[in-house]
């Protein structure tokens, strides 16, 4: 298992690549040097802190409840990130949280309910991370698209409302379009996987010396987990947000362009 540890010296050596990036930024006057240094330092501090905490959670003596608490914390953090990235809809946090909880219940329920992976801190934490990280991106996309579709097609939505359609029907084609866009990205990357890039989990397993077939099986299960998670979060956020953009008496609220 020599390949699994690069040690502090190895990590320090990889900084040479940062120097390459900084050099290029300077040569081409991209003005990104400060930004890059900040990103590199921040990533290091964040991941080292996470690693430290993760070490405690993964310790065989630590009860698995701490792993679930970790997932819960990720749910909150991801929801908070979604809210920050969709400033055009104020107060999105509860809905984003609901989407994450739905994703966790559905995806982790299937993964552990069917016994695909054994329940342990070593499975709960990374699978929860994969699931939430990907669905968070899709949640942001669907939220922005729902707002954009309903805003840009306000004429059509109001024409439908004026025909006596309830908001659910009046918004359906536009919300559906937003949900398609948000889910398509994940479907596309599921199709392209392996041909264009080796996904992270598989790369990690292969580096760790796991047999390629085993690595592929794990990776596929994770891809399907992500697909299910993305679809779930898109549905909850898409429909939940559409509901919030209409008044109880079926009027479309004023929608502004993002700040």
């Amino acid at each position: 298992m020599d390949t699994t540890s690069i040690g502090w010296v190895g990590l320090a050596a990889s900084l040479v690549l940062v120097a390459v990036a900084l050099g290029l930024s300077t040569v081409f006057r991209l003005g990104l040097a400060r930004e890059m240094l900040w990103a590199v330092a921040r990533a290091a501090v964040q991941l080292l802190a996470v690693g430290l905490a993760l070490g405690l959670v993964l310790d065989p003596d630590t009860p698995v409840a701490w792993a679930w608490a970790w997932v819960a914390a990720m749910c909150v953090l991801a929801a908070w990130t979604v809210q920050r990235r969709v400033p055009e809809v104020p107060g999105l946090l509860p809905l984003a949280l609901a989407a994450n909880v739905a994703v966790a219940v559905v995806s982790l329920g299937v993964i552990f309910g069917l016994g695909i992976f054994p329940v342990s801190a070593r499975t709960v934490v990374p699978l929860g991370g994969m699931m939430l990280g990907n669905s968070m991106t899709a949640t942001v996309v669907v939220a922005r698209r729902v707002v954009a579709e309903l805003r840009d097609r306000r004429d059509e939505v109001e024409a439908r409302l004026a025909l006596g359609c309830p908001w659910t029907e009046a918004s359906r084609p536009y919300v559906r379009q937003a949900m398609r866009v948000a889910t398509t990205t994940q479907v596309e990357s599921t199709k392209a996987v392996g041909l264009i890039f080796l996904p992270g989990a598989m790369t990690g397993l292969v580096l760790a010396g796991v047999d390629a077939t085993d690595a592929v099986q794990v990776q596929l299960a994770i891809m399907y987990l992500i697909l299910g998670s993305v679809a779930t979060s898109v549905a909850v956020m898409g429909l939940g947000l559409a509901r919030r953009l209409f008044t109880p008496d079926h009027r479309l609220v004023p929608l502004r362009r993002e700040a």
Partner: protein
């Protein structure tokens, strides 16, 4: 004052005529800069829809908003709107919007065929009903299977009207429906609006085209800067606006200032 042809038409549906009544209606909108804009300011007026009721005024005067209050696409910040004596705020908006239909300035056809557009108004619409709806707006029934995107502006707007009529409305609100159309289509739709009032369907017609209002209306309301002008001011406004003499018979009279508010 002379009595126009449309007034005569209105008389036939006499006491059964539908009415809208605005009582001290105000509407404030928050602008994109966060400032509050008073779109309508203490409007009190009444429309009795025996014949076409026109609402004229410069763009941005609040006349479209006045219309949108009638089917609750907007709700007033203050005051109330009565339809046939009932406060629209107490009516189920989904029922109200089928009783009070609306056709918009922009031709808003949905994706799909004309028949698919009709199905939004009435999901169980049959081919015969669809064809009848098209005949009602003087369009051939073979248009039913045409993609809505292929229609001309005039055809499209007439399909929008036919779509609205499929909900069996008692009143149709028309918001600048001919402003993007050519002269022939414009007259065609004016003619259709007339027919509707003959059939006992109330018509409220918003336009910035004064000549059109005077051709069409049995009654004209003038809106300026969020206020409905009273009798004398409205007369003065219309006289000034038509000072260049666009026609000979300006047979309009307009509603009395609201007696309730």
């Amino acid at each position: 004052m002379d009595r126009s042809a449309c007034q005569t038409a209105g008389v036939s549906s006499g006491d059964a005529a539908h009415s809208f009544r605005f009582e001290g209606v105000s509407l404030d909108r928050t602008g994109s800069d966060g400032g509050v804009l008073r779109v309508l300011d203490d409007v009190s007026t009444e429309w009795s829809l025996g014949g076409p009721q026109c609402v004229v005024g410069p763009s941005g005067s609040g006349k479209s908003t006045l219309l949108r209050l009638c089917n609750r696409l907007d709700v007033p910040t203050g005051g109330r709107v009565l339809f046939d004596g009932e406060d629209v705020a107490t009516l189920d908006p989904l029922v109200l919007r089928r009783r009070v239909g609306m056709v918009f300035q922009r031709v808003t056809l949905f994706a799909g065929t004309v028949a698919a557009n009709f199905a939004v108004a009435r999901p169980d619409v049959t081919a015969e009903e669809g064809a009848a709806a098209l005949r009602r707006v003087d369009l051939p029934s073979n248009l039913l299977d045409r993609p809505a995107g292929e229609l001309s502006g005039g055809e499209g707007q007439r399909v929008c009207l036919a779509r609205t009529l499929l909900t069996d409305p008692e009143v149709v609100l028309m918001d600048e429906v001919t402003s993007s159309l050519d002269t022939a289509s414009r007259h065609e739709i004016e003619h259709l609006a007339h027919d509707l009032t003959h059939q006992g369907i109330g018509v409220v017609w918003v336009t910035h085209d004064l000549a059109q209002a005077q051709r069409l209306a049995s009654s004209i309301t003038v809106v300026r800067s969020g206020k409905v002008l009273d009798d004398d001011d409205a007369r003065r406004y219309l006289r000034q606006a038509t000072a260049h003499g666009t026609g000979t018979d300006h047979d309009w009279h307009h509603d009395q200032p609201g007696e309730g508010g």
